[in-house]
């Protein structure tokens, strides 16, 4: 099949999720929160994973990192990173991959940074662990990293504690620690959600600049279509734990194929957009406890018909090289 039509990355795949399934135990019952997720991310490419609360986007990130909370587990599928299934590694082996192969930044970097450790030591720790540098070498390297992420007077910042710094600066330090061991893949989970809009713009610039310089792939995860639009080459939209659409960012945003993607884009207010009444999607994001027969978006979909309520739609090629999991899309393009 033609690559473009395959919903596949344009570069050699670095990360391939193959049927990733994550289950969480709630009140003694196992609930599926990520349901057979499959997509690929190319070397040096940025994929934006878009979803609302409860879509499973953060669980996906934590599953790739093997940092799921105790109640959650990978219940199926593979997480191939450079040909190696991370889901099958033991904890010791995974620890050696974290930082060097794949690293992550979070919405509130303070949760990732150790509050009782100075900025310099947080970063130096990564370097000592992965590169076997001496403390002195690591400190010099940490200073270079702070400079690289745009922190003024890096020498003075090395001995500060994270809580003394602004949110924007903390996120820069989170990024410095994440890229310290030069990972091939950086996962950014809502990296700007806690930040003011002007600071958000700077973090976007920084990520773009670092990617151009270091060539790392980025999996950026957010509910914010604006952020995704600024960073991503391709976009994957998930709803209630399932992939509903994937394709080139410009195509998905300009001509979304799945009714949920369409609704989400229409509902996002934008400057210069329509005024007065805002477009909405009726109903609300489903809880995981709710039964999942058929398409999970069907209860909110104005186009839903009988088949949508009984049969899960498979991902099908849509016009313009996108793929969408919708019976209507399949009917339009299919035989």
């Amino acid at each position: 099949m033609d690559r473009e039509l395959d919903g596949a990355p344009l570069t050699a795949p670095l990360l391939e999720l193959d049927g990733l399934t994550v289950a969480v135990t709630v009140a003694g019952r196992s609930v599926t929160v990520v349901d057979g997720l499959a997509f690929a991310l190319g070397t040096g490419e940025t994929l934006g994973l878009v979803g609302e609360s409860g879509s499973g986007k953060t669980m996906t990130a934590l599953a790739i990192m093997r940092l799921l909370p105790p109640a959650a587990r990978i219940a199926g599928g593979r997480v191939q990173l450079a040909g190696e299934d991370l889901a099958a590694l033991d904890e010791g082996a995974m620890r050696r991959r974290r930082g060097r192969r794949v690293a992550m930044i979070f919405q509130e970097p303070i949760t990732a940074l150790d509050p009782v450790m100075t900025v310099g030591n947080q970063i130096a720790e990564v370097l000592v662990a992965h590169d076997g540098l001496t403390r002195r070498q690591a400190r010099a390297e940490a200073m270079a990293l702070l400079d690289a992420v745009g922190i003024a007077l890096p020498a003075a910042r090395l001995d500060e504690y994270p809580h003394r710094l602004s949110g924007g600066m903390r996120q820069r330090i989170g990024i410095a620690a994440a890229i310290a061991a030069r990972p091939a893949l950086l996962i950014a989970d809502e990296p700007t959600t806690a930040l003011d809009v002007t600071v958000q713009a700077e973090i976007v610039d920084l990520l773009l600049e670092l990617q151009a310089r270091l060539g790392m792939a980025i999996l950026v995860i957010s509910h914010n279509l604006g952020l995704i639009s600024e960073l991503a080459d391709r976009i994957a939209v998930i709803y209630a734990g399932r992939l509903v659409e994937i394709g080139a960012a410009t195509d998905v945003l300009a001509a979304p194929a799945h009714p949920y993607t369409r609704g989400l884009i229409a509902a996002t207010p934008r400057i210069g957009g329509p005024r007065g009444r805002l477009a909405t999607i009726p109903g609300m994001v489903p809880g995981f406890a709710e039964s999942a027969v058929g398409c999970r978006f069907a209860p909110r979909c104005t186009l839903a018909f009988d088949r949508c309520r009984s049969e899960v739609p498979a991902l099908a090629a849509a016009a313009g090289g996108r793929h969408a999991a919708c019976h209507l899309v399949a009917a339009e393009v299919g035989p």
């Binding site: 610039d205 600049e209 509902a267």
Partner: protein
């Protein structure tokens, strides 16, 4: 000009918070100015958006305008006269909706009791009349009468925000001050709540003071916009004028920073110095000068006054020493008008 008389008017409002060193009984080590010398009014039936980033003082100003907390100096006028210290009318006529309905709805009260609370406190009606009013209010915000008996945790975030709105509507207020009312909600639900707010206003005629960081929401629903930076108003005017001809460099920077969906991958911008000033060491003169590309000696020395634009839309004011001198067509003004 025969603009309607303002409903609420703050004149020279100033509020400072004591700053304490770390620890439970930390010593007072200074004061942080939250709001400095702000004059602003809300007219009947309008939607005035108050925008700014964290620490700009917008939430504090919202609390001062409904007297949830007192100003250190300045006067609050209500309905054309100075508002007395304990003004029952103000307590009834100005109601609040906050960002986080989880935190502002008591978990131990039913939705019905939450909605009836302001009625009881204000002595507005007896028990039976209250129950009828609660049912009316639930219907008005799109909930069922049966919801009255449920507790907040039994509702979704969007439904909880509907309950908060019903509570605010209960005493038939003339102004609702809504502080980030949809920021905690999913995008697909945000529009439902904003549309509800618009419908209720069309029916009841109250005004909104909408406090938000989201300029796209402001563009969609506000009549007028006030921009705050570091405790002061830096620009205020009709929505169209402010979005298409922003007259303060900070307003331009804000508009410029808003992501444009579908515009393609971002080209790196010219690097701006975005760190806001420290409240412990407020800059002299214009607080925006350390970040401003146009700043010069006078900006570092004198606080600019809010003044009308020479050739501007009536009511469009900005506080900038150089507003007339830098090219007006430059920056995000042109972007704001271009729909993708």
């Amino acid at each position: 000009m025969n603009a309607p008389a303002p409903l609420i008017e703050g004149r020279g409002l100033t509020r400072r918070y004591p700053l304490r060193s770390a620890g439970l009984f930390g010593a007072r080590i200074g004061v942080v100015p939250a709001v400095t010398d702000v004059s602003i009014s809300v007219s009947p039936g309008e939607t005035l958006a108050l925008v700014g980033e964290s620490g700009s003082g917008k939430s504090t100003l919202g609390r001062l305008l409904g007297r949830l907390e007192p100003a250190d100096s300045g006067r609050l006028w209500y309905d054309g006269a100075p508002a007395p210290k304990r003004d029952r009318r103000l307590r009834r006529d100005v109601q609040y909706v906050f960002q986080d309905p989880d935190g502002s709805l008591s978990p131990r009260l039913t939705a019905g009791a939450i909605i009836a609370e302001p009625l009881a406190v204000l002595g507005l009606s007896d028990g039976r009349a209250r129950a009828v009013r609660v049912a009316e209010l639930l219907a008005a915000v799109g909930l069922e009468p049966a919801h009255a008996g449920r507790y907040p945790h039994e509702f979704s975030g969007g439904q909880r925000q509907r309950i908060a709105i019903a509570r605010a509507l209960a005493p038939a207020p003339r102004v609702i001050i809504a502080d980030e009312p949809v920021s905690a909600l999913d995008v697909s639900v945000q529009g439902q709540v904003l549309n509800l707010m618009a419908d209720l206003k069309a029916r009841h005629g109250h005004a909104y003071l909408l406090i938000t960081h989201d300029l796209a929401v402001v563009d969609a629903i506000a009549d007028r916009v006030a921009v705050m930076y570091f405790g002061r108003l830096v620009e205020m005017g009709p929505r169209d004028a402010l979005f298409t001809r922003p007259a303060h460099p900070y307003t331009r920077a804000l508009l410029d920073a808003v992501p444009r969906i579908g515009a393609g991958k971002r080209q790196p911008r010219r690097q701006a110095r975005s760190e806001p000033p420290s409240p412990l060491a407020p800059p002299a003169g214009c607080a925006y000068h350390p970040r401003c590309p146009f700043a010069d000696a006078i900006c570092r020395r004198e606080v600019p006054a809010l003044t009308p634009m020479a050739s501007g839309t009536p009511g469009h004011v900005r506080a900038c020493h150089h507003a007339g001198r830098w090219p007006e067509g430059l920056g995000s003004g042109s972007l704001a008008g271009a729909a993708p």
